[in-house]
């Protein structure tokens, strides 16, 4: 088991330094392939790339370029358009409603990223300590289940549970906390956390499972060593588990931060941004501006701003995960 793990890890020289695979073999092999490729000429390479490049260009780059272009126009999506320069961008940065939706998206990071990753770490560590068997498989499956439910469906189901007569309030009443019952999604101050927790519920499973596979790749001898040194559960967690999971955590944080900043489906099916603009997020705002108000230019500008925001948050995270100690 551990040998296989090490073999897999060894073929990709990770800068994390945990694996210690041989750089010699891994460096030689690609070079040989590269020489062959040069002999066939660069054309073969491009030919092989062509389908992917074409698809990427057509479905990603081209729409993106169009969106960037639209963002400089005042256009309803159908009729004639007028060039407005950076006016749409100016509005994104000065409109209180749009800025508020961006703020809400950042609050959602707590629920989409911080909670699922932390809970995932704890759960993964606990499951690792359970002997492999029916119980650990079942708990993994149960934890992962929310992940296969579409977010839109999760939003609808949870809006029923959060209703005045829903499951959440029934449980609160049953345990004597009847005074705390409220229409969760309609209450100022509670709506955003309530919606955020739906995201936590969905994403915790993904985090746990991915972190578990990561833990499996950590050399067990490291755990043995630290145990022999007399370290406790917490020391082991901080010194071995967390550094060993650096890559997985980086991936999860990236994925979940993107999910938080570009969230749409949960909000659309549960609160539609209400009460007031309490749970309005950029995704919903862009949808409304573009399709209900038919202001395609402004919607595109907001979309580009959202993309830049996501990159600003995610790119440093990527850098962080690549750096070795």
């Amino acid at each position: 088991m551990s040998a296989r793990n090490r073999g897999v890890a060894g073929s990709t020289p990770t800068p994390g330094g945990v694996t210690g695979g041989s750089p010699v073999t891994s460096a030689v092999a690609p070079r040989r392939v590269a020489r062959k490729a040069t002999r066939r000429g660069p054309l073969a390479g491009w030919l092989m790339l062509a389908p992917a490049v074409a698809a990427y260009g057509f479905f990603v780059i081209y729409p993106f370029a169009l969106g960037a272009q639209y963002s400089f126009y005042d256009w309803n999506g159908v009729g004639a358009s007028t060039w407005v320069g950076f006016q749409n961008y100016l509005r994104v940065f000065t409109d209180a409603e749009m800025l508020g939706s961006i703020r809400n998206a950042f609050v959602l990071i707590i629920f989409f990223t911080v909670i699922p990753v932390s809970v995932g770490l704890v759960l993964a560590t606990l499951i690792r300590n359970i002997r492999a068997g029916v119980f650990s498989t079942v708990s993994q499956t149960i934890l992962f289940l929310p992940q296969i439910i579409p977010l839109a469906a999760a939003g609808i189901a949870w809006s029923w549970m959060y209703a005045q007569t829903g499951t959440v309030n029934q449980i609160l009443s049953a345990i004597g906390l009847g005074d705390f019952t409220r229409p969760w999604l309609a209450e100022y101050g509670f709506a955003l956390p309530a919606v955020g927790l739906i995201g936590s519920w969905v994403l915790t499973g993904l985090c746990t499972v991915l972190l578990l596979t990561g833990i499996g790749k950590i050399d067990p001898s490291l755990y043995e060593a630290i145990r022999l040194d007399g370290a406790g559960w917490f020391r082991e967690f901080v010194t071995i588990t967390i550094p060993g999971l650096r890559q997985q955590i980086a991936i999860l944080v990236t994925l979940t931060v993107i999910a938080a900043l570009s969230s749409f489906d949960i909000i659309y099916t549960s609160t539609r941004g209400g009460p007031g603009r309490e749970t309005l997020v950029p995704g919903l705002s862009i949808f409304r501006i573009g399709f209900t108000q038919s202001d395609v230019g402004l919607a595109s500008a907001f979309g580009i701003v959202l993309m830049v925001l996501v990159l600003l948050v995610v790119v440093p995270l990527q850098r962080l995960s690549r750096e070795s100690k």
Partner: protein, 449 residues
């Protein structure tokens, strides 16, 4: 070495993406969009073709009247068949401009707000048919909201829509609760309405059953405003006349009344979690003394509450004053690109004139069938809510008190401003003045932007 390689890899895709983006921009050409002209050249005819024709209709889900009408029309004219496609109201209204601009637009489409579609040349101008069929005998006030001038102002200009039924709104009262509270008759002034609501509140009965998770509480908000606002001024705003404002003393007074009712606890405490179907269900189950809704709900309430419910127009501010109520056509437009212009307009005219079609409108929607007022009205069950609704339609027509729904003012104002701000208003978070000012600010931005 490793750093170098990473750096190179790190930069290439960015450069490539930038290059492709530039290429894409160049490919995309200059300004997006263009002007689409109406497909002219169809000779106006009021005779129905004898050839086989398939008419396509895009309608919203949950409103089966188009199916019933199509079926009856095909029965009378077997050479004309229909294809009805349905989508939710939200999706349909969001996609309507694109559907209409497509190469193969639906012949007839449910379109609540004309918006930019006229400016973009997407709708067929029905003026030639207005003359050909003699629609000048129809109530002008009913058709006014379906017209648009060349400057994009509704209320006058060419006719671009017709209604499959013309609605009226009012207040439903649970008579069992009323009897229990000693209320003998529907309120005849706002003050009386407030007295009766207080009676209900004191007895632990919800005074007004309403919901605002999807904005429907605005039936109440606008009903209050209607009684204080200058009707023509209010309408000019809804029709987007230049310089028209929502921020008028009458509208503020109406909105402040809602704030007062919110503070007094006349609305359900979880109002922002209640959507249309929930509040309709709750009222049908006996929760609430009053509910503000339209004729389309009449049959449902009658089925649920039997004789324990009545329907009346929202009372004027002072006893004996004229009534003002929201009402609108269940508006449909003909696509400018329709291949069957004559046939689809024949169908629309038939809906307003054929006795069976008019009966279907009343039976299925509870709405007034519109058309020439001298035509006989369809039969309705005596004493039923639908009979009351038809009578209310006639009364509001006679008093010339019909106004459009403020949600129809612009395409984006309902979701973008009226819903979120009313959620704040009905929970007492903002004042009526703030509500009116915020909606007006959004309006100016949307109209100007």
């Amino acid at each position: 070495m490793a750093t170098l390689r990473r750096a190179r890899i790190g930069r290439t895709p960015v450069a490539a993406a930038a290059l492709l983006a530039v290429a894409g921009l160049t490919l995309a050409g200059c300004a997006p969009g263009g002007t689409t002209g109406p497909a002219d050249g169809v000779e106006v005819s009021t005779e129905l073709t004898t050839e086989d024709v398939v008419l396509t209709i895009a309608d919203e889900t949950g409103f089966p009247v188009t199916d019933a009408l199509a079926e009856e029309f095909t029965k009378q004219h077997p050479n004309v068949t229909f294809e009805v496609t349905r989508d939710t109201f939200q999706n349909l209204t969001a996609n309507a401009p694109r559907l209409l601009a497509s190469d193969n637009p639906p012949d007839l489409i449910r379109l609540p707000t004309i918006g930019d579609t006229v400016k973009d040349g997407l709708l067929a101008n029905l003026d030639p048919y207005y003359d050909a069929y003699g629609w000048d005998a129809w109530p002008a006030s009913q058709l006014a909201p379906l017209r648009m001038s060349e400057d994009g102002v509704r209320g006058s200009g060419s006719l671009y829509q017709l209604g499959l039924g013309y609605s009226v709104t009012g207040i439903y009262m649970n008579l069992a609760h009323a009897e229990e509270l000693g209320i003998e008759a529907p309120p005849e002034s706002i003050a009386e309405l407030e007295e009766q609501m207080q009676l209900a509140k004191d007895a632990g009965i919800t005074p007004i059953m309403a919901g605002d998770s999807d904005g429907v509480v605005n039936f109440v908000v606008q009903a209050a405003m209607n009684q204080y606002a200058d009707k023509d001024e209010f309408l000019s705003w809804m029709f987007n006349e230049p310089g028209a404002s929502y921020n008028t003393p009458g509208n503020v007074e109406g909105a402040e009344l809602i704030k007062k009712w919110a503070d007094a606890g006349y609305f359900p405490s979880d109002i922002n979690a209640i959507d249309y179907f929930t509040f309709v269900t709750r009222f049908s189950e006996g929760d609430g003394l009053f509910t503000f809704n339209g004729n389309w709900a009449a049959q449902g309430y009658q089925d649920a509450l039997g004789d324990d419910v009545t329907f009346f127009l929202a009372p004027p501010a002072e006893k004996g004053g004229d009534h003002v109520a929201m009402g609108a056509a269940n508006s449909f437009s003909v696509a400018a690109g329709s291949d069957n212009l004559n046939e689809v307009v024949y169908f629309l005219n038939w809906i307003h004139t054929d006795p069976k079609a008019r009966q279907i409108i009343v039976d299925v929607t509870g709405a007034s069938p519109g058309g020439d007022p001298s035509l006989p009205l369809p039969e309705v069950e005596p004493g039923s809510l639908i009979e009351r609704a038809i009578a209310m339609s006639a009364q509001i027509g006679a008093e010339n008190g019909q106004v459009d729904f403020m949600a129809n003012t612009t395409a984006g104002i309902y979701a973008g401003s009226i819903i979120p701000e009313s959620q704040l208003l009905v929970t007492g978070q903002i004042t009526g003045k703030e509500f009116v000012e915020r909606v007006q600010a959004f309006y100016e931005q949307e109209i100007g932007g």
